[in-house]
């Protein structure tokens, strides 16, 4: 499989942020979708399963940590990278315990984020091989 095939879902309630980040990732040869809250993200998974999800933590309605739990329960192979503006050490610990792949502070450097996504994708491929 080519690296180009990595499918990403960006989940963030800040619409402008989610869209711009999605656009930047698309320019890096990824297939990118967006969801603006947790419920929307979970319903999108039913249509199409991404390889990697970029997930915000503090969103209206469903909290990112609960979204992470649901993803890991229904789709354990999807890699989840938390991208949050105000994560505490405890959040990070909790996210990793729940099976989150990585925990990044927002705004993250795009090259750094791209590397993390590719690494997450690579590990997913190795695990499912």
């Amino acid at each position: 499989m080519k690296q180009k095939d990595v499918k990403v879902l960006v989940v963030d309630d800040e619409v402008a942020f989610a869209n711009t980040l999605a656009q930047r990732l698309k320019m890096r040869d990824m297939e990118v979708g967006t969801a603006y809250d947790g419920e929307q993200a979970l319903s999108k998974l039913r249509e199409k399963t991404p390889d990697v999800i970029i997930l915000d933590l503090k969103m209206p309605g469903m909290h990112g940590m609960d979204v992470l739990k649901e993803i890991k329960r229904g789709y354990p192979h999807i890699q989840v990278i938390l991208l949050t503006g105000h994560g505490t050490d405890r959040d990070e610990e909790e996210a990793r315990r729940l099976g989150g792949f990585d925990f990044l502070n927002k705004p993250a450097d795009i090259d750094h984020l791209e590397r993390k996504i590719r690494k997450a994708f690579q590990e997913k491929l190795e695990r499912t091989m």
């Binding site: 800040e14 402008a16 942020f17 711009t20 980040l21 656009q23 930047r24 320019m27 503090k58 969103m59 209206p60 309605g61 503006g85 105000h86 927002k106 705004p107 795009i110």
Partner: protein, 221 residues
């Protein structure tokens, strides 16, 4: 007993200021994150050689988005700055609508997190009020905090202002399902509120459906 009240008051004040700062820094960080990605996107497009005349509208759109975010951030800074300066003098003549609008703007994030809409319904041309605006904001906050905590998601809280004779009124109207009993009555916060409203020379009444009405005399204490 007095000391206990003093302690509770300090705890409420700290919680209030803490909430305002937390909400503020969060909003600003979000605006900056969008600005960072937008300027990054411009960089990406240049590096990719998207430099034809056809690309100009896309560039302009991104630049507009950056300007919008900066505008939002400045508005927030203005609110926070005014909020802080209200504590400079105890009693001053102020515009009630501006005072409430500033408070709502600074607390909006907490309501939004719970999918609760914070709406305002202001009577225009209210007379200026001579009173203690900081104390009023703290008082309104103490009610909003309870109602936001008590309401289930998809609720709504409307803050309405109006004038009657020589008084102005702030009416806080929640709509939706309350998850738990409204803790407004009989708590230590209740005593602090009584003390506040006595100092402001006004009145607090609880209406039907968990509505709260705060009345203040226009000409001060």
């Amino acid at each position: 007993m007095e000391n206990e009240n003093e302690e509770d008051l300090k705890a409420l004040q700290l919680r209030f200021v803490g909430k305002i700062i937390a909400g503020f820094t969060h909003e600003i960080k979000n605006y900056l994150a969008i600005i960072k990605e937008s300027s990054g996107l411009i960089g990406d497009m240049i590096k990719m050689g998207k430099l034809s005349e056809n690309d100009v509208p896309e560039y302009l759109e991104i630049i507009q988005s950056i300007e919008d975010q900066i505008g939002n951030a400045i508005e927030h800074f203005t609110h926070l700055n005014r909020f802080s300066h209200r504590m400079d003098t105890q009693i001053s003549a102020f515009n009630l609508n501006e005072c409430i609008e500033e408070l709502i703007a600074l607390l909006n994030r907490f309501a939004r997190q719970k999918k609760i809409v914070l709406a305002t319904d202001f009577q225009q041309d209210l007379p200026p009020v001579k009173s203690n605006p900081s104390m009023l904001q703290l008082l309104v906050f103490s009610f909003l905090e309870n109602k936001i905590a008590g309401l289930e998601k998809n609720g709504r809280i409307t803050v309405r202002t109006g004038a009657v004779d020589n008084a102005v009124a702030v009416k806080i109207i929640p709509e939706g399902t309350f998850a738990e009993g409204d803790a407004d009555a009989g708590t230590t916060t209740g005593k602090i509120r009584e003390n506040f409203i006595k100092q402001l020379g006004g009145n607090i009444s609880q209406g039907a459906a968990k509505e709260t009405v705060i009345t203040l005399p226009v000409h001060g204490v």
